[in-house]
Symmetry: C2
Subunit: 336 residues, 2 copies
Amino acid sequence: MKYTIEDVAREAGVSITTVSRVINGNYPVKKETRERVEAAIKKLNFQPNPLARSLINKRTNSIGVVVPGLTNMFFTEVVHGIERIMRSRDYDVYISDSRGRADSEKRRINKFLERYVDGIVLIDPQTENMKNGFIEEVSKKIPVVCINGYHENVRTNFVLSDEEKGTKEALEHLISLGHKNIAFIRGESSYSYDIKENLYKEYMKNIGIEPIVITVQDGNNIDVVENTMRVLIELSSKYQLGKEITAFFACNDLMAVGVLNGCYELNLKVPEDIAIIGFDNIILSQMTNPKLTTVDQNMRLLGERAAQKLLDLIEDKNLYSDTDVIETKLIIRKST
Amino acid sequence: MKYTIEDVAREAGVSITTVSRVINGNYPVKKETRERVEAAIKKLNFQPNPLARSLINKRTNSIGVVVPGLTNMFFTEVVHGIERIMRSRDYDVYISDSRGRADSEKRRINKFLERYVDGIVLIDPQTENMKNGFIEEVSKKIPVVCINGYHENVRTNFVLSDEEKGTKEALEHLISLGHKNIAFIRGESSYSYDIKENLYKEYMKNIGIEPIVITVQDGNNIDVVENTMRVLIELSSKYQLGKEITAFFACNDLMAVGVLNGCYELNLKVPEDIAIIGFDNIILSQMTNPKLTTVDQNMRLLGERAAQKLLDLIEDKNLYSDTDVIETKLIIRKST
DNA sequence: CTGAAAGCGCTTACAG
DNA sequence: CTGAAAGCGCTTACAG
């Protein structure tokens, strides 16, 4: 079995109080005593039971991260950024997948709360949970940082990428290339899609073209690639692709790849017949043929910044609310 | 603040012992009393502190999963299978990324041990940690299931996909198409690559051709796609591609996609000039152009089977060692 | 600088 | 069927 602090105390011939003190280094201990205790710890290869410590400290040195889908590389990149920071500070990061559903997200968060994580990062939290006050409630109990997502009048912390600016640049890029008949592809429910859709409609209004909004299902699971492709093929019976629609703005790269694959099936040339622009700049966007024009969200930085902020919150408990914005960048490649 | 069992006891006018008994349902409690306690629990919205329970039970109702890289969809698919099973049994699953390095994998495992997870799943564990006995040691302390990875004389539990059979079928498929000059692409250190390489060499020996083994770096991170592409381009100055090499066997789909992208850069037609076969059947393999011929590892089932086995182990502590083998399946698409 | 004791929030013999 | 008490492995006032 594992050794306890009592075994160490016996071994070193001191009280458990003293052992505790040398472990935590929070009280003066005579050098000689300390060395004896350290030797005992080493000899027994003693590791304090984090459960027992947490029970008292109310701290677990761990954080929870909730993502809508592990198969969208956008999220794994962001998580990677979070992990980089957290590990350097000796925090454990636990990842949990909500499958993009509000009830599941809620459950995941509650589980983390039960487990006494020290803080939570929510990537692309469900709008429903933002609007109904759930996330604000959670933010009162524990440090929370949200990456992207709905944020009007919600008192919690945000690290946002400037999706508005990114969307504008993307749309203007298409327009500067002479496109007017631009269709818009989005997933079911995410604030990121909503922002983009609003801007898209505005632009279309300005150029006097009827907007075409296409909603595929869950946009954050890799299955969306196939789904989007199917949707595109259906679409080709309604619209004359290459004429009535000459360009697609896709809300993320996964959907953009779906469009690309659909074009291939339909024998449409990209970008000659159809231009495609994605969003995120996941590595997949460089792997297609042609490579995808897209908007870089600087995913790694989003994660790092969120982690840093969460750490700050955990440390001084100034619980909320604050917003950081990170720049996006248009990456022009071969699909436009 | 959160309520404790004491608050519930006071509210219901019973002892904490009784409250504990109705929560756990492990001792008889008079119906009337039970109802009073249940009402109090409901009223206070009481949730028992899992830390305190775990301190006594030595159980946390959670498991750890260590993966070499979250950006290789092979792993996220397997994890998905694990989560499906675990959630239905109300276990939390915590995912941790070793970045494919033995020291990091060790550290991740030790962290899980410290946190008293009830069991651990290792996906594609590092050969080094298998051979030096580390994983066997861990398996003595706690239920462990390994998915794939080195397994000679290591006493722990395995769920393996039949990579040998898969490799043979892939190679035979290429040969049946008339290929002899087959090159082999692998990542740095993984048992999966080793098995495949051995078989590859055997086949090449049989057909009397000098084997060409190309090692790219870390094969389990999505960066490998770019790396492989670069490696292929360099390779084109050493070999006459399409002649001295007419086919590539890649140890996973990520590398296969890298080869595909490289061929595109080099203006080589797939499969006319160069045939490519991958391994795993991650969804990405259907998204390329042409779609990839590959070997399906049934990732979801690998995860589910491993989770089920871990659960069995957790429940009856019959700690090791046992091996399940799951069939692979050749998926012929357009790259061969 | 050091230790005995109380306490974190639970569970489980033990006694009735 | 129910409760008082010990205990899980720690930390931290309190006293010296």
